[in-house]
Amino acid sequence: MATFVEKVLARAAGLPEVIPGQIVDVEPDLYMSHSASWRCIRALERLGTDRLHDPSRIAMIMDHISPARTAKTADDQRLCREFAARHGITRFWDVEAGIAHLVLMEEGLVRPGMVIIGTDSHSTIYGALGAFGTGVGFSEVTATWVTGKLWMKVPGSLRVEVEGRMPPGVTAKDLMLWLIGRLTADGATYLSVEFHGGYPASLTVSERMTMCNLAMELGAKNAYVPPDDVTRAYLAERGVPPGEYEEVFPDPGAGYVRTLAVDVSDLEPQVACPHTVDNVRPIGEVAGTHVDQVFIGSCANAKYDDLVEAARILKGRRVAPGVRLLVTPASRQVAARIAREGIHADLLEAGALITNPGCGACAGDGGAMADGEVTFSTANRNFQGRMGSYRSEIYLGSPATAAATAVRGVITDPREFL
């Protein structure tokens, strides 16, 4: 009787079973490093070895500052390129590819039952495909490059049962903000968060990504949505047949630290107010707040579905005078698809500035704010100073709320545009 995380970590540790609190050495299936890759390489130099355990498990993606803005970054990125070539690391994506998480999932490298570590806290997103994903420091990725192993404390599990039909204009992002507001930013610290029930089962992989991504903001170690036909179809489209992965499900009767039942039928759009992600209010309490900039981007909400959701409101309308709308598609594939389908033009005609794919303004790369300015963002963090001045403010919400806000120039309920 084991939870998802107990099963998956036991397998990766080569043990028949593990229990919460136990410290085990696991062999991760994939080691992701993004723009921190150069730091991993410098740590390897300190270690004084060049012997890598298994270069085929290494994936490097240049996403946080892309393309380079300074000679220092250019130098760091060149170090990664040359390192990858020298070591035969074929899973290397350069500055044009987009956000690491999206790239790995779109490329079919993330599969159910896998254990994946990444130099990014939002590695919890891999749970959208039934995999274990967790963020670690760059030294840990370096150590794993060399030894193939990393210590993990087996977490307890939080089971969230989500039922009900989401009202129009309300999204998975709103659900997660509501949950973070209710449980607080350390509501699931060190826990594996499992999403079960009819609502997650009804979602696309893209929306499941938003849920598992935002679970990080509860302090979670990893997140999980049980694999199903939606998962299998997503993988099959990417050339990964069911025979190439092993789905892992929690046992009935597994032990959870806490079980939570949520009904989304009456949920309203939610907004996280400055400067913490758990400072959450229903839209009605913050509607009318002035904004200077709207950012539609990040690994939380700049996927194809997210941009479609925003474009539905923006098409044929104009961004309010004096407001800057930045759109940063999560990946090159997303950017190509919105270009093909005309969404790119819809956004441009509405007055958006569309940047190259990547982390963009969420990671402070472009889109900086001056003192006293306000951004409404679809990202996953609103910490003080994250986007420019330490005296600026960030509000977080869904792509629909962001689009409605861009049109009016004040925080706006997207349901007014339905």
């Binding site: 410290i23 921190a36 730091r39 410098r42 740590a43 300190r46 270690l47 004084g48 070895t49 300074t70 220092k72 970054t73 760091d76 990444g118 130099t119 990014d120 806290s121 590695s123 963020g135 670690v136 420091g137 760059f138 030294s139 840990e140 370096t142 150590a143 060399v146 030894t147 210590w151 930013a185 350390d186 610290t189 060190y190 302090g219 170690k221 913490t276 990671a363 402070g364 963090r381 910490f383 003080q384 100073g385 994250r386 330490y390």
Partner: protein, 170 residues
């Protein structure tokens, strides 16, 4: 690392995040001294000066929440911080502390008792925090983590292991 270390503390509240500890714009560096100049910059020069003159940080819950950036731990080392005592830590920050050789201790009672500026001493082997003469217990690190910490972090620890392996193979 000495078994017992400490000194006067600077005290923070709950939910201090990694963007406040070290803003993302400075992650182009991995040098502890360079990073230390920008540690806690969003909170202003007075807080920064306090951190630089305090060997111990005491904090509330979820200290270090947010990003996986390892520099959130190394910037504190660069600023001369020897130990962080908190009600609770965000998990990646806790890992990063151990892996960079910074003592991080979860001890809610001690975190509660300490007032800003108090002398706080930590004995990680004994599992004890002393706050202005009062003593509080915490569960000592499991041995596997203690070895990483006492080696000065994961990379120096692994270096020792690899050297020992090479010696055996010779």
């Amino acid at each position: 690392m000495e078994a017992r270390l400490g000194g006067p503390c600077v005290k923070f509240g709950d939910g201090v995040n990694t963007d406040v500890i070290i803003p993302g714009r400075y992650l182009v560096s991995i040098d502890p001294a360079e990073l230390a100049e920008h540690a806690f910059e969003p909170l202003g020069p007075e807080v920064q000066a306090r951190v630089r003159s305090s060997p111990v940080i005491v904090a509330g819950s979820n200290f270090g929440c947010g990003s996986a950036r390892e520099q959130a731990a190394t910037c504190l080392i660069g600023a001369g911080v020897r130990a962080v005592v908190a009600r609770s830590f965000a998990r990646v920050f806790f890992r990063n502390c151990i892996n960079t050789g910074l003592l991080a201790v979860e001890c809610p009672a001690a975190a509660e008792a300490a007032r800003d500026g108090d002398e706080v001493w930590v004995d990680h082997r004994a599992g004890r925090v002393e706050v202005a003469g009062q003593s509080f217990a915490f569960t000592p690190y499991p041995e596997s983590l203690r070895r990483i910490l006492e080696s000065g972090g994961l990379i120096p620890y692994l270096k020792q292991i690899l050297a020992a392996q090479a010696a055996r193979e010779r």
